[in-house]
C-alpha cells in the first residue's frame, strides 16, 4: 500500500480516537463552539487529504459535513440534535471507510447519499424517513471491519529510551565478557554467553533501524518542487530519482532537507538552460536532473546531477579576485577543481552579482557548512556546458561520528575526523615549531600554521616536551587551517556522540560527549569552536618564499625511516625508497623457489629480512621500489621518521648493512638499499624483467617436464596454440608441429624446435633431453631477440 495512504489512515484513526470525546461532548451541548471547531478541523483535514489521495467517496462525505459545519460556524444555522446525529453518522462512516481502506474490504455505499441528505435542514428534507436509516448505520459501523494494524506510532522519546537501554546492555555485556576472559570459564557458559551476545547485537541492530527512515521521505517532495520551479522559470526538466529505498536516520533526513532543496533549486534555476538555449547548444529541449542516493559503508552518498550549463570556474576565479578573496598569482596555480571549490567560499557565494555570472552560488557556503556540521562532505564536478555533478556524503546517523582520539594533559579527547587534514609529528623533518610574539606557529612543508597547544588551551598540565608533540592539522567547517598540538594520538574510532549539557556547550569548545568502551566519558572537541576561542587568525598568504627555502634544506638532509628490525636492532633506511609500510597476513608469505616471497595483489615480490621470519600472524613490511622492481622488507616496528645527513661509517663488507651513523647520539645501522635490490634481483625474480618463453602445445610433457626446467632457468612460461599472436621472446615447438602454422606476428619471434632424436640437432633444433644445450640456445635466442627489440 502507498506510504501516504498508510500515513493518512494512521492519522485519521488517531484523530478520530481523540475526537471521540469531543463528539460526545458536542452531542450534549450542540452550542459549544470549541467542540464545533475541532470537529470542523477534522472533517476539513480529511477532505483535503482525500482530494490529494484521490479518495472521492471520503471526500464527498467529509465535504458535505464540512459545508454544514461551516454554516454553523457562520451562525447561519443552529446546530440541533438532528444535525449533530447526522454529522456523527458521517464521522462514523468516515471511520468505517478508513478501516475498510486498510483491510482492503469494501463498505457498501448505497446509503452514503442518505447520510449526506440527513445533513440538510429539516425544512428541506423530502421526508422524515431520510434520517431514519442513519442510526442503524451508526450502530453497525464499529462492528464491521477494523483490520489488524501492523504499524503503530511511537514517541521518539520512547525509542531513545529503548536505545539507551540497549546501550546499557552492550556495556554490561562488554564488562561481563572481560570478566569471563579474566577468570577463564566453562565452555558451556561461554556458549550461552555467545548466544546472549548475538541476541544483544541483533536487538541493537533492530532498535537502530527504528530510528531509520527511507530517504523517500526527502525525495518525495522533489517532483512537485521541480514541476513548480520549472513552470515558473519556463524550463523543461525531466527528473529522475534513484535509490529512494536507502535508509538513514530520521534526524539526518531533516538535516539534509534544506541543503538538498537548495541544490536542486540551484540546478533548475541556474544550471539547466531555457529550452531554446538548449536546442541552440545541440541538447534536448528538456533538461535532465538526476537525484540519487546510495549507501556506501557507513555513509550515504547523495548525488544531484544535471546536464545544464555547469559552472565556469574561471569566471568564478575572476570574481574571487575582484572581491579580493584571491590574489591573481595564487589563482594562476590553481587546478580547475580547486577553482570550483571557490563556490563554497563564504564571501564569494553570497555575493549577488556572482550568482548571475557563475550560475550557482547563493548560499553554497551555507550548504557546505550544514553538511559538514553533521559530519558529511560536499564536492562538485563541473563540465562547462555539459552540466554539474554535486555529491554529498553524510554519515548514516547523526549520533555515530568517526573520530580520532588524542590526549593532552593526561586526558583523552575526541576530534571529528571530518575536520582533520593530516597528522604530523613535531620531531619529523617536515614540521618545524616556531615562536612569534608568545604565540606558536608551525611550519609544515613550507606552510605556516598557527598552533593551539591543546593542553595549555584547556588549562591542563602539559605532560610532555614540545618536541614530542603531534600536530593535528585541522580544517574546521567555514574556517582556516590550524594545527592543534596534542601529546599523543591514540586511535580512530566510531563514537556514539550525544549532545553535551548546555553548561558544557556554553564554553564553545565541545561538540558533544561520548562514552568509549572503557566507560570513561570523553568529550568531542569542536575544531571551529577551539579556533574561535583560541583566537586563531585567518591563514596568512605568505607561503611561497618559505616553500623554497624549506625545499632547499630538505635536499641536504634526507628523510630517513628509523625502524626496529626483526633481530631487535634499530636500523635506518632512506624514506624515499619506501612506498608504504603495511601489515600483511603471514599466510601471504611463503618459502617458494628458493626464497621468501610475499604474494599480494596478484603479484609476487621477494620478501627480505635480516634473519629468519618469526612465527606470527602478521608481519609488518616496508614496501620498497626503485622505480621498476618491488621488494618487501620485514621489520618489527617503525620507530620514527627523522631528517638526517646521509654520511656514515662504511661497513667492512658489502651486505645488508651499508654502514653506521649517529642519530641522536645513538649508533644506527644504515640498510644498504642498493645491496637489497641487487640481492633481490640477482635471481632474476622480478616478473617485469623475466624473458617470456612460449611453449606451443600444451601436453603433460611440456607442462610437467619442460616448463619447470625453463622456469628454473629464469624464464616465464606461457602456453599457447601455434598460430596465436604472442609477446613471447622465444617460442618452443615440439617436433610434430610445423613452423608454417605460426602466425605472421609470431614469425619474427625466434623458434626452438625440440626433437626426439639426439643426433638431429642444428641451431634451431634441440634434443629434448639436452638440458644444457636447450638453455644455451634459449639464452642466445632470447638475448638476440631482446636486442632486436
Amino acid at each position: 500500500m502507498d506510504d501516504l495512504l498508510v500515513e493518512f489512515i494512521a492519522e485519521t484513526r488517531e484523530t478520530l480516537e481523540a475526537l471521540n470525546g469531543e463528539i460526545i461532548a458536542w452531542e450534549a451541548a450542540p452550542g459549544d463552539r470549541t467542540r464545533l471547531d475541532s470537529i470542523f478541523r477534522f472533517v476539513h483535514t480529511v477532505k483535503g487529504s482525500c482530494g490529494f489521495l484521490n479518495l472521492p467517496r471520503l471526500e464527498k462525505l467529509s465535504h458535505a459535513a464540512e459545508d454544514v459545519l461551516a454554516e454553523c460556524r457562520a451562525d447561519r444555522r443552529q446546530p440541533d440534535e438532528t444535525l449533530v446525529t447526522a454529522v456523527l453518522a458521517i464521522i462514523d462512516r468516515i471511520a468505517e471507510v478508513t478501516n475498510a481502506l486498510e483491510s482492503g474490504e469494501s463498505v457498501s455505499d448505497h446509503d452514503d447519499a442518505a447520510l449526506i441528505a440527513a445533513l440538510a435542514p429539516a425544512s428541506e428534507k423530502s421526508s422524515e424517513e431520510a434520517a431514519e436509516p442513519t442510526p442503524a448505520a451508526v450502530v453497525q459501523a464499529p462492528a464491521t471491519t477494523r483490520g489488524m494494524s501492523r504499524s503503530i506510532r511511537l514517541p521518539v522519546d520512547l525509542l531513545d529510551r529503548m536505545m539507551a537501554g540497549v546501550s546499557d546492555m552492550v556495556l554490561a555485556r562488554n564488562d561481563l565478557s572481560r570478566r569471563l576472559r579474566e577468570t577463564g570459564v566453562d565452555p558451556v557458559i561461554e556458549g550461552a554467553f555467545e548466544r546472549l551476545s548475538h541476541c544483544i547485537a541483533e536487538m541493537r541492530d533492530s532498535i537502530t533501524r527504528t530510528r531509520m527512515a527511507r530517504i523517500e521521505n526527502l525525495f518525495s517532495a522533489l517532483p512537485r518542487m521541480v514541476r513548480d520551479l520549472s513552470n515558473e522559470l519556463g524550463k523543461q526538466v525531466m527528473l529522475e530519482i534513484d535509490g529512494s529505498d536507502v535508509e538513514l536516520d530520521r534526524e539526518m533526513i531533516e538535516m539534509i532537507r534544506d541543503p538538498l532543496t537548495h541544490i536542486v533549486r540551484n540546478a533548475i534555476d541556474h544550471g539547466i538552460e531555457a529550452p531554446a538555449d538548449r536546442i541552440l547548444k545541440g541538447k534536448a529541449a528538456s533538461g535532465r536532473l538526476r537525484v540519487s542516493a546510495r549507501q556506501a559503508g557507513n555513509q550515504i552518498a547523495i548525488e544531484v546531477v544535471d546536464d545544464g550549463a555547469g559552472i565556469d570556474a574561471d569566471r568564478l576565479v575572476e570574481k574571487a579576485i575582484a572581491n579580493g578573496i584571491l590574489t591573481a598569482d595564487k589563482a594562476a596555480g590553481m587546478s580547475w577543481h580547486a577553482k570550483l571549490q571557490l563556490i563554497f567560499a563564504a564571501g564569494l557565494s553570497t555575493a549577488k552579482q556572482v550568482t548571475s555570472i557563475s550560475g550557482r552560488g547563493v548560499g553554497m557556503d551555507v550548504v557546505r557548512t550544514n553538511i559538514e556540521r553533521i559530519g558529511g562532505t560536499v564536492d562538485l564536478e563541473s563540465k562547462l556546458g555539459n552540466g554539474l555533478r554535486l555529491s554529498m556524503k553524510v554519515p548514516l546517523t547523526l549520533t555515530i561520528i568517526p573520530a580520532l582520539t588524542v590526549s593532552a594533559g593526561d586526558r583523552q579527547f575526541a576530534i571529528p575526523r571530518s575536520a582533520i587534514d593530516e597528522l604530523i609529528r613535531v620531531s619529523s623533518a617536515s614540521a618545524r615549531l616556531g615562536k612569534i610574539g608568545g604565540g606558536k606557529m608551525v611550519n609544515i612543508r613550507g606552510r605556516r600554521l598557527p598552533v593551539v597547544m591543546l593542553a595549555s588551551f584547556l588549562k591542563l598540565e602539559p605532560r610532555c616536551e614540545e618536541h614530542e608533540l603531534t600536530m593535528v592539522v585541522l580544517k574546521p567547517a567555514g574556517g582556516d587551517h590550524y594545527a592543534l598540538a596534542v601529546e599523543a594520538v591514540h586511535d580512530h574510532e566510531e563514537l556514539v556522540v550525544r549532545p553535551a549539557a548546555p553548561a558544557l556547550m556554553a564554553c564553545g569548545v565541545y561538540a558533544g560527549t561520548t562514552l568509549p568502551d572503557n566507560s570513561h566519558p570523553m568529550l568531542l572537541l569542536d575544531p571551529a569552536g577551539i579556533a574561535a576561542a583560541a583566537g586563531v587568525l585567518t591563514e596568512v598568504e605568505e607561503q611561497e618564499e618559505i616553500t623554497e627555502s624549506a625545499d632547499a634544506q630538505l635536499d641536504e638532509r634526507a628523510q630517513t625511516l628509523l625502524f626496529r628490525d626483526l633481530d631487535g636492532i634499530e636500523r635506518a633506511i632512506r624514506l624515499s625508497l619506501v612506498e608504504r609500510i603495511e601489515e600483511v597476513s603471514a599466510s601471504l608469505a611463503s618459502f617458494s623457489a628458493g626464497r621468501m616471497r610475499l604474494s599480494q595483489d596478484d603479484r609476487i615480490v621477494p620478501l627480505m629480512s635480516c634473519c629468519a621470519l618469526p612465527e606470527a600472524d602478521k608481519y609488518r613490511v616496508l614496501r620498497m621500489t626503485d622505480g621498476t622492481a618491488n621488494i618487501a622488507y620485514a621489520i618489527s616496528e617503525v620507530v620514527d621518521i627523522v631528517s638526517m645527513e646521509f654520511t656514515f661509517e662504511r661497513a667492512l663488507q658489502p651486505g645488508l648493512i651499508a654502514g653506521v651513523a649517529l642519530v641522536d647520539g645513538r649508533p644506527i645501522e644504515i640498510v644498504d638499499s642498493f645491496w637489497l635490490f641487487a640481492d633481490a634481483q640477482k635471481e632474476g625474480l622480478l616478473p617485469e624483467r623475466v624473458p617470456v618463453c612460449m611453449i606451443a602445445g600444451d601436453d603433460p610433457w611440456t607442462r610437467q617436464m619442460l616448463a619447470p626446467l625453463l622456469r628454473s632457468g629464469g624464464y616465464r612460461v606461457t602456453f599457447g596454440e601455434t598460430g596465436t599472436a604472442t609477446d613471447a621472446d622465444v617460442i618452443i615447438l615440439c617436433d610434430s608441429q610445423a613452423e608454417d602454422t605460426l602466425s605472421a606476428e609470431a614469425a619474427d619471434t625466434p623458434v626452438i624446435r625440440l626433437t626426439a632424436h639426439p643426433d638431429a640437432a642444428d641451431e634451431d633444433h634441440v634434443y629434448r633431453y639436452d638440458r644444457n644445450r636447450l638453455l644455451d640456445v634459449l639464452r642466445v635466442k632470447s638475448e638476440r631477440r631482446r636486442r632486436a627489440r
Binding site: 553548561a503 569548545v509 566519558p521
Partner: protein, 145 residues
Amino acid sequence: MNNLYLLVTIAGSRVALPTATVESVIEIDGIEPVPLVAPHVAGLFALRSRVLTVIDSCASVGLGQFVWNSHAEAVIVNCDSHGYAILVENVDDVVEPSASVAPSRAVLSADWARVALGTIEVDGEALLVVDPDALIAGNVRSIAA
C-alpha cells in the same frame, strides 16, 4: 506524588529538593573533570551508558567547592532531556509536608535566593526548597560580571 521532597545537605545546610524531576540517588566516584567550564560543573560521570553532567552544588550556590570524601552522593535529575548528577553532602529522607511551599521570610543571601523556591515546614523546622534547575544553571550572572 508531586508533593514529595528530598531532604539533602548542600554547603552545610539542610534543604529540600522537589522530586518531580529527580530520577534517583546514587553514589558517585571517579568523575572526569571538564576543562574550561563554569566552576559549578564538576565534570562528567558515566551512569551505565549515560553520560551525566556532574554539578557541584556548593559552587552553584557560591559557597566554595564540594569537599570529596571517599565517595559522594549525587541526586540524578533530568533537565531539558539532559541528565545531571547534583553532588550533595548528605541525602536524608523523602518527606511529604502537610503545607505547600510558602515564600521564605528570612532574608537570604543572593546566591541562595537565586536557587530558592520558598520554604516548607518539616517536623517543625523550616527548610529552604531549592530548584534543581537553578542549581544546574549555576550562577550565570556572577560569572558574567
